[in-house]
Amino acid sequence: MKKLLSGNEAFAFGAYHAGVMVAAAYPGTPSTEILESIAQFDEVYAEWSTNEKVAMELGMGAAYAGVRALVSMKQVGLNVASDPFMAASITGINGGLVVIVADDPGVFSTQNEQDTRHYAKLAKVPMLEPSDSQEAYDLMAVAFDLSEKFDTPVLVRSSTRISHSKSVVETNCKRNAVAKPAAFKHDVEKYVMLPVHVRLRRPVVEGRLVKLNAYADTFPGNQIIKGGKRLGVISSGVAYQYAREAFPKASFLKLGMTYPLPQKLLRDFASQVDRLIVIEELDPFLEDNIKAMGIEVAGKEFIPRIGELNTVIVEEAGYRTGLLAEPSRRKVSPPQGLPGRPPVLCGGCPHAGIFFVLNTIGQRSKLLDARGKSEEQGKLIITGDIGCYTLATYPPLRAMDTTACMGAGIGQALGMEKAGVEGKIVAVIGDSTFLHSGITGVVDAVYNKSGVTIIILDNGTTAMTGHQDHPGTGVSAKGKKTQKVELEKLVKGIGVEDVKVVDAFDMKAIRAAVRSSLENPELSVIIVRGTCSVRLRKRTGHRTVDIEKCDDCETCLRIGCPAIQKLDEQVYIDATLCAGDACTICEQLCPKKAIGPVTAGGGSK
């Protein structure tokens, strides 16, 4: 049956049809929809794990018990999960364990641009790379078979453009009958990695790699596509699509398995063409490994290492190498001087109020600074984290000083404090991120007698990745009601004494809570709670500006709310973006009381 599927949906369908029994993930763009899609199948146990490390461990456990397990994450998720991932390589598995990791070339939504392929080499495990949704679907069955045949976890590398592109997929609509029920067979030499057992496993892993090397030459997803003799292109993943379009006359070696490489096939291909070029996104992973075989090949001297590729970039490389004749088409370039439209916090965002307060109490920007004109140091240091709220870095809020990785803000705040930085340090973290990897930071803060203030922004969802549930929402990945982890009980249980919970849309309460925490020399936690406005189903009473009362002080514009706009010297509120009664932050802040609900007759526009 033909379906139009994104790469992520295709992975899920493929894994389902391959008989996967257990799936675990933590949301992360661009990998999130893999678990969301697989959670729709009743026969599969699917969960949002607390973080990627737990997800990987869950996958290991399921695979140890003999069933097929799928773990999916974004590339930086594998950093979190790398400890169990490396362990799974050395113990091997029993039921198939497939790990899908989605890279983000071009950095659409990540804190770095790392190339996951290095992990395959580091962990000595095979790696597969699809170049469209059909291959994403097909490779799942192959990956599980490979995993079981070679007793190894299998890494599948996706990318933003594979995961988030839709293309036509032929599916076979049938789930592979799962014969084996879960059963764990005791085998301490395989599963208990005491040094003495590790020494026994090491030769097994090296032997496995030798066998995988031989297998790579027979892997059906590694294909030669015969074209002209003048140029041979080696490529994989979405880069293959760009290369195919840019070099219609070349011969291709398309690699579906990029670690280990098919040595014989590569040598054969090299002997068939005059000139060899590798076209790959990010690092010269294929290129370096092919060069190490003694095969002469070009690549990164023409193809950029940084950012996402596309057909135009590949064509330009063709012109530079003299492999393509430059056509005489009209020059195309983006228009200059248009205002950009970077992502912003949404209208009615529950993060806006607290950041407005941090901005003003921290004297981080006077009115002029809201326009980005002053470089003056603010009075507060605010360490930040990963989530929608990272956008509070931008004007007009400008209330974030660091963002590194999930959960880092709390540890960084402690480090600054212990280093002797003067004044109170505030760490800001979202609810999902806090549960992912903020808890250990609080334990450290209690244990080591820190006096920082930790603000947990609780919008009751994992918003940035598209509203996934987490342990704090009380709803499972399957949409079922479950036990809820209460944030205030959790932090009190750790030993924090000063814990306050405030309404994200009550500006007075937020201000009072922040002031009191800043005055308290002891460790304090403020939980700022409010529903993510994107999830509001009914919007009532959108606000409007009474231009008779408005004196154009622009206080409301400093919230950074996209509903509050100014064109031709007039501030107004876009009714389609305003969250109305659910928010009212602008109304609370307006010094002239010029903002009110549209029904109260306050509006003239």
Binding site: E245, P342, P343, P395, Q565, L577
Partner: protein
């Protein structure tokens, strides 16, 4: 068959991803190969959104090359200007008559381009262009969220795929309780185009 490369652009929250999904499903139902991809940044709302939809007998790259777009569908005027350089020779642009100033404009650090500047940009790149009153019509219909189906209706006027296929795919994707209103929006989008002289 001639290839059709469509670029749908606008502001996060306008329903562009769903619209380009449906457009792709329509193309598949009509028997074409199709690939589509969205370039979204972080967060849910408010940022620039671009959706590439490629329709042909065989599609390789999911991303359209600059200068090769056949139809630009802009849900907002500034975004129309921003992406019009993607348009190719003999191309068309459909632009929703909607101004959404980015935060930098509201804060006074940058200027929203004037209507003439936007039209000059379109003139430079597009073979022909059409302004439609999408936002106003969608609000009149009772829900701004019908804007994306209205824009799809406009696009349908420029593609050689019959209306039945379009409506079939829309019915499969939208829940029954909002379907009727969205079908009206789709027809309004077609009307807007016929008013602009497209048959």
């Amino acid at each position: 068959v001639k290839k059709q490369d469509l670029l749908m652009v606008g502001v996060g929250g306008q329903g562009i991803v769903l619209a380009s999904d449906i457009l792709s499903e329509v193309a598949m139902a009509a028997g074409y190969d199709v690939k589509k991809t969205d370039t979204l940044g972080m967060a849910q709302r408010g940022g620039s959104v671009v959706s590439h939809v490629r329709i042909a007998d065989k599609v390789w790259s999911p991303l359209i090359k600059e200068g090769e777009v056949d139809i630009l569908v802009a849900f907002e005027k500034l975004e129309a200007a921003r992406w019009s350089y993607y348009l190719g020779v003999g191309s068309a642009a459909i632009v929703n008559n909607q101004t959404t100033p980015p935060l930098s404009v509201s804060l006074g650090t940058s200027q929203y381009p004037g209507d003439k500047e936007i039209e000059d940009t379109l003139k430079r790149w597009a073979g022909r262009y059409y302004f439609v009153d999408g936002t106003r019509q969608a609000i009149e219909l009772g829900d701004i969220r019908t804007l994306n189906m209205l824009m799809l209706g406009s696009v349908s006027s420029l593609l050689p795929i019959d209306v039945k296929t379009w409506k079939g795919c829309i019915s499969q994707r939208l829940s029954p309780n909002i379907l009727k209103m969205n079908m009206v929006a789709f027809d309004k989008g077609r009307e807007e185009m016929s008013r602009a002289g497209v048959r």
